[in-house]
Symmetry: C3
Subunit: 267 residues, 3 copies
Amino acid sequence: MDNSSLKELFAALRNSRPLIHHITNYVTVNDCANITLCIGASPVMADAIEEMEEMTSIAGALVLNIGTLNSRTVESMLLAGRVAREKDIPIILDPVGAGATSYRTKTSQTLIEELCPSVIKGNAGEISVLAGAGGVVKGVDSCDAADDLISVCKSLARETGAVVVATGKNDIATDGITSYSVSNGHELMDKVSGTGCMLSSVTGSFSAVASDLLTASVAAAAAFGIAGERAAADKSYGPYSFRTKLFDKVSSLTPEDLAAEAKVERI
Amino acid sequence: MDNSSLKELFAALRNSRPLIHHITNYVTVNDCANITLCIGASPVMADAIEEMEEMTSIAGALVLNIGTLNSRTVESMLLAGRVAREKDIPIILDPVGAGATSYRTKTSQTLIEELCPSVIKGNAGEISVLAGAGGVVKGVDSCDAADDLISVCKSLARETGAVVVATGKNDIATDGITSYSVSNGHELMDKVSGTGCMLSSVTGSFSAVASDLLTASVAAAAAFGIAGERAAADKSYGPYSFRTKLFDKVSSLTPEDLAAEAKVERI
Amino acid sequence: MDNSSLKELFAALRNSRPLIHHITNYVTVNDCANITLCIGASPVMADAIEEMEEMTSIAGALVLNIGTLNSRTVESMLLAGRVAREKDIPIILDPVGAGATSYRTKTSQTLIEELCPSVIKGNAGEISVLAGAGGVVKGVDSCDAADDLISVCKSLARETGAVVVATGKNDIATDGITSYSVSNGHELMDKVSGTGCMLSSVTGSFSAVASDLLTASVAAAAAFGIAGERAAADKSYGPYSFRTKLFDKVSSLTPEDLAAEAKVERI
């Protein structure tokens, strides 16, 4: 990928400050709000059915995260998603824990079928489960992926029409035809709750200003990963100090930094 | 304003450690709990209809924040508010996102009409919308205010009987007759999610020990702003390090500091 | 207590990384997720009735915390608890605010009667109220305990069959026959929201790998207290910097540290 396209996209994001509507879990919601601010967008978290139509209508992207799903919020996700589809607002689906319970698997499948999300971003296990390629998910942060993860991602992308992102040591992003590997990041990101959810927020932020959602997904993974590398470089104590710095580094990251440090490889 | 009255109020707050009952959003609820502890009060977050009457009855103030409102919690707000009114417990209303969706606007209006809140604290856009003076609210942290904000605040205060606080570069507080401008604060406070919500918690804390809620509102805005200035003065990295220090500085602020550094001007 | 048993238990926890299913409040849920990661376990927060059976079934322990209870989540707690009982998965009950409202007191009693929790961990006031020994609870972090707290804890333990932990300056843990006092900790832990909830998560983490839940409860209180001491030792600013370091220190604590620094006394 030409890293200058990442730079332009990030500059556009910082310039336009899009509103990102989240229907997300109550565990990491504060992290998602703050990381959205830090990357340069404006977060709004709202899940009441009464206001879904209006709130989604004014958003630049919709992030659906099923981390603490329940019947009330799933209903709101479906309504918000339909509004987003009608208005060509990109939908980012984070199927947290798909495979851990059948309720999560089935809800993810329903959201995919009903809403045709623009981006599906999960860990390797969640993506494998949704692609019907096996994979084991225990809880929300532990999984075994299918063996040939790239093929699995491509298969899910072709089946759903979405850009598929599978996070891991290297993040994989594909639209079913073109695929990239992003190797930015740091292992401390796995020691902190919510980094996966935060990446969904960052992906939503880039998606709101992009015409090409594969580029947006790659830019998001690279930008968040670079911030993680920088946060780790001056860590003093441990994962929570790292977390504080992760936010700071997302905030101070420039489009030039992104272009210079993105480790993106076509695969 | 005589700054010694701010000092006395803050000393009274630290001495009596009032219980502040919050019905608030799940995005910034942890920040609100911690900032309430840091300013010297005791937070309780509870929203089940079954315990509203008892919980509000033992509180020194009630903070209602509609950041992630839904039909269940709005019902609890109405019941808690009625109990507070009966028992002369001050009610602080934070109409987050009023103007962004009609559900938020109407709910704010209903809460104002039914509960006669003691203090209405919003950003300039939210206050303008509620005053019927125009204003545009996009999401929860972006807005355009009415042109003559002071008049708008006075008008809303006279119409509702509440002290009205409009936050911004300078915070405005008025009871409809007497008005103050508070110019403490730092621009980094806008880069962190939840500072508006936190100010509502701090306002609730001061209100619980005050006979004059205009003074309480001014003291809260000045105290929180001073803490922001101090946090920014030794910031090392960015908004999240700032956030950590903002809590620390609220915690270490003394009544003497408040009297010495409050930038309050009658307007 | 032989501190080498604490060390072995902590090493087992770090080696096996058990999944800890939480049904908990939305105020401190992020802290609970992160502290669970930091101590070496894997958190999952899920409260939808549709997935309770499956989610609890794959967990090593179940943490029930009524901090922001409502009728929907109490129903989920009851179902999850029944599944845990059937499968011999330890249940940790944190009866937050029992005594502050009758809804909290009655819900705690119902959970105890229906689920026979393995560990009941509360502050001295909550434990006193549940033991029927008086005690006054105001909100969720302020209380007066019964006079003879050790006897009260023993009595509740014998009545319920649970290990009972009463937190305070010294933490008391008892199974009704054998009792320990743990004097690790630091007063700054009381200045931060959620340290009680975090201890429940840590207790759940140790319980998942223990055959003896009294030892697990003592190990948890000692480990968390030691981390608090270490966090306070290099505090720079105040309670929120302390909070950041508390997570870091939990993360860096080793089984050897636990054995060397645990202040546990049989009482």
